[in-house]
């Protein structure tokens, strides 16, 4: 599967629930797919405007393609995701969770890069969890040998990124 074919299949998956943008520049970084999802659930009384309580969950996915996934690229991409969290996540009173998922796609993944992905860990708790939390999920895709490597937080969404035969 080529980079473009994989990106196309991923875009189709995202489009079911996410708002998808292609080829955007964010914080000086070129991103091939930017997908965002929000879910606001809660209870109302009489009219939808009369909110008794609500809770908000968000997920932002940043997909980037490269020739070969290296350790340096993982470090740089990890820094980019941290900046995204610091710049864009604004936990309000009803905020429960935000997941920032970074997906880096290459023909192959270097061993050191694979290890860097696995140990990558970044999360924030806001106001002692009273305003929820944010986790960074990091996922590396090796197209040549159908390889998927994730950090611990990314394991929950690993299936989404499986390469279709």
């Amino acid at each position: 599967m080529t980079h473009e074919e994989y990106l196309e299949s991923l875009q189709k998956k995202f489009e079911t629930h996410f708002k998808v943008e292609r080829n955007v520049m964010l914080l000086g970084e070129r991103i091939d797919i930017h997908a965002s999802f929000s879910n606001v659930s809660g209870r109302t009384f009489i009219t939808p405007n009369d909110v008794i309580d609500k809770c908000e969950s968000y997920e932002y996915c940043y997909v980037k393609k490269t020739d070969r996934v290296t350790e340096d690229e993982i470090d740089a991409f990890g820094q980019f995701l941290k900046r995204i969290v610091d710049e864009y996540v604004e936990p309000g009173r009803d905020h429960m969770s935000t997941y920032v998922t970074g997906v880096i796609i290459g023909n192959s993944i270097d061993d050191k890069a694979g290890m860097a992905i696995k140990v990558h860990r970044f999360s924030r708790a806001y106001s002692f969890y009273l305003r929820g939390w944010c986790d960074v999920r990091l996922i590396g895709i090796g197209l040549d040998d159908n390889q998927i490597i994730t950090n611990k937080a990314g394991k929950r969404v690993q299936k989404v990124y499986q390469i279709a035969p």
């Binding site: 009489i46 008794i52 429960m96």
Partner: protein, 545 residues
């Protein structure tokens, strides 16, 4: 009379009514299984999303059920079991069921708007303010009543150290709250497997009961529990929902199912006879403490026969998720009939023991624990278990009522241009709502419950009025909603007069004044609503003429 007969008869009558009267209403109202519901026409997969009828029935039932259907029949048993039983059965079939289903159906035919929204839109800005004030006062009563019931149930009396079931249940309840928070943290934050977590959570829930039973270390007086509960509801209604409320409600549902299954099996095995008299006549008590069957029975047994809050809280959400109009019967009518079964169970529990004493929770727990003893659950353990289940219901009602009250207070104190005032701050409005309820605690739930019942039933009357007006506007006969509506208005207004008079005579001036204010608000609301609908009708008549 054998209580098993009463239970089975009730279930059979509900089933027959579901098929026959339910079928009649479906035909008459024009329930159309082919017509697309708002869940399809406005689908957004957030609010509007079709759901399986059985799943939706479960959600709807858990949102309308609370400690109300248990408290009401137990408090009303002073009139004898027969009138209470008849009101539960006939009320659920012809009044409450019609009210809930009618509200739900009207909501579906109004793009999923709740019946309260239909009323609010139609009665205008001033009517809306009156409605808010009325609902706010009702909510203060709810908070006061359930806080008092819980505190009285958990209270430990040092003079009677052998009466320890309250302290045991109180200890288990405190442990359960912490368990729910830990459960929520692992499921939401750590992404723990839900099935595995549920199994462990339920096991730990029963472990909490065991610890409470073995080591009842929380031994507080009634006043102490009042303070603890006031702090709890302040925190529970201001903390994020996923922090405490959602995981606690989730674990509570297992407690509810276990209690219901245990109680029904116990009744089938024990087949207890009703020990209290079938009827004690029209008047109970003497002098200023006298209560009349009409209207007091019909406001005391509220949620087990009809409840106005069902239409406001339940139908607003459920109508957006109905897959077909056909499902509205199961969800709207069926859920109310199931609640009727819960109310019958509560009546059986209180009718089982002559001269049962204690709070509704204690009476219910003693009865059900005796039934569950028939299949090996020790009575003291069963008692702690049932009190915990009851208090879990009551705490949910407390939390929801406080959140609603806070919201309404915030709305009432926000300026017309949307500018917030100091009073509309979330913490300030919560503190005022809880504080006002705390002022009523000295009166006890026995005095508060009839006013709450009256106000709640009046909301039901207003919902029936809205459904009746809509049916008439649609060219359909509406006697099935008009007759219950007239009855509910007669009941609530008469009850408020009696409650106000009795409390003034007993020098309970705050309660008496509150009842008088609610009476005036009720009259104004009824007149405003009728004028609005009649006014619209005459305007339409003029236009078409």
């Amino acid at each position: 009379m054998n209580s098993l007969t009463l239970l089975l008869l009730g279930i059979v009558l509900f089933l027959v009514a579901y098929v026959t009267y339910g079928g009649y209403l479906a035909n008459h109202w024009g329930i159309d299984p082919e017509k697309k519901t708002p869940a399809h026409t406005k689908r957004d997969n957030i609010d509007y999303c079709p759901a399986d009828a059985k799943v939706l029935l479960g959600h709807h039932f858990s949102s309308i059920a609370g400690a109300g259907p248990i408290t009401g029949p137990i408090a009303a048993a002073v009139f004898g079991w027969l009138p209470v039983y008849l009101w539960i059965v006939l009320g659920s079939i012809f009044v409450g069921g019609v009210h809930d289903w009618g509200s739900l159906f009207a909501s579906i035919r109004h793009d999923g708007k709740s019946i309260g929204e239909v009323i609010r839109v139609n009665i205008g800005e001033n009517g809306k303010k009156l409605f808010n004030l009325f609902a706010y006062l009702t909510l203060i009563l709810v908070v006061a009543a359930f806080t008092d019931i819980c505190a009285s149930t958990f209270a430990f009396d040092a003079a009677k150290p052998e009466a320890i079931s309250g302290a045991q249940a109180g200890t288990a309840s405190i442990l359960f709250i912490f368990l729910a928070m830990v459960f929520g943290f692992f499921v939401y934050r750590k992404g723990a497997n839900l099935v595995l977590s549920s199994v462990i959570g339920v096991a730990l829930l029963f472990f909490c009961i065991w610890i409470g039973y073995q080591f009842p270390f929380v031994k507080l007086s009634k006043f102490g529990w009042d303070i603890v509960l006031i702090i709890y509801i302040f925190l529970a209604s201001t903390l994020p929902v996923w922090f405490l409320l959602q995981p606690r409600d989730y674990l509570c549902s297992f407690l509810l199912y276990a209690m219901l299954i245990g109680a029904v099996i116990g009744v089938i095995i024990v087949r207890p006879a009703m020990a209290i008299p079938a009827s004690v006549g029209f008047t109970v008590g003497e002098g200023i403490k006298s209560q009349y069957l009409f209207p007091m029975l019909f406001v005391t047994v509220a949620c087990g026969a009809i409840s106005g809050f069902h239409s406001l809280v339940g139908s607003g959400t459920s109508s957006k998720q109905l897959n077909t109009e056909k499902d509205s019967k199961l969800v709207g009518y069926g859920a109310m009939l199931i609640e009727g079964v819960v109310a019958i169970m509560a009546l059986i529990a209180v009718g089982y023991v002559v001269g049962a004493k204690g709070t509704p929770a204690q009476i219910f727990a003693n009865g059900v624990a005796d039934f569950m003893n028939s299949f090996g659950i020790p009575v003291p353990v069963g008692t702690v278990f049932v009190i915990l289940a009851f208090s879990a219901f009551a705490l949910t009602s407390l939390d929801t009522a406080t959140r609603l009250g806070r919201y309404m207070f915030q709305e009432m104190t926000t300026k017309a241009d949307g500018t917030k005032t100091a009073l509309s701050n979330m913490y300030v409005s919560t503190a005022i709502t809880v504080g006002l309820s705390a002022l009523l605690l000295t009166y006890g739930y026995q005095k508060i419950w009839p006013i709450f019942g009256s106000a709640n039933q009046l909301l039901a009357g207003l919902s029936l009025l809205a459904v009746s007006a809509w049916l008439a506007k649609s060219g359909k006969k509406n006697f099935m909603t008009v007759i219950p509506m007239i009855f509910m208005f007669a009941v609530t207004l008469t009850a408020l007069v009696f409650v106000s008079r009795n409390n003034f005579l007993s020098e309970n001036y705050i309660i008496g004044t509150l009842a008088a204010i609610l009476f005036v608000l009720a009259i104004v609301l009824i007149i405003t609503t009728i004028n609005t609908f009649l006014g619209k009708k005459s305007k339409q008549g003029k236009i078409s003429a």
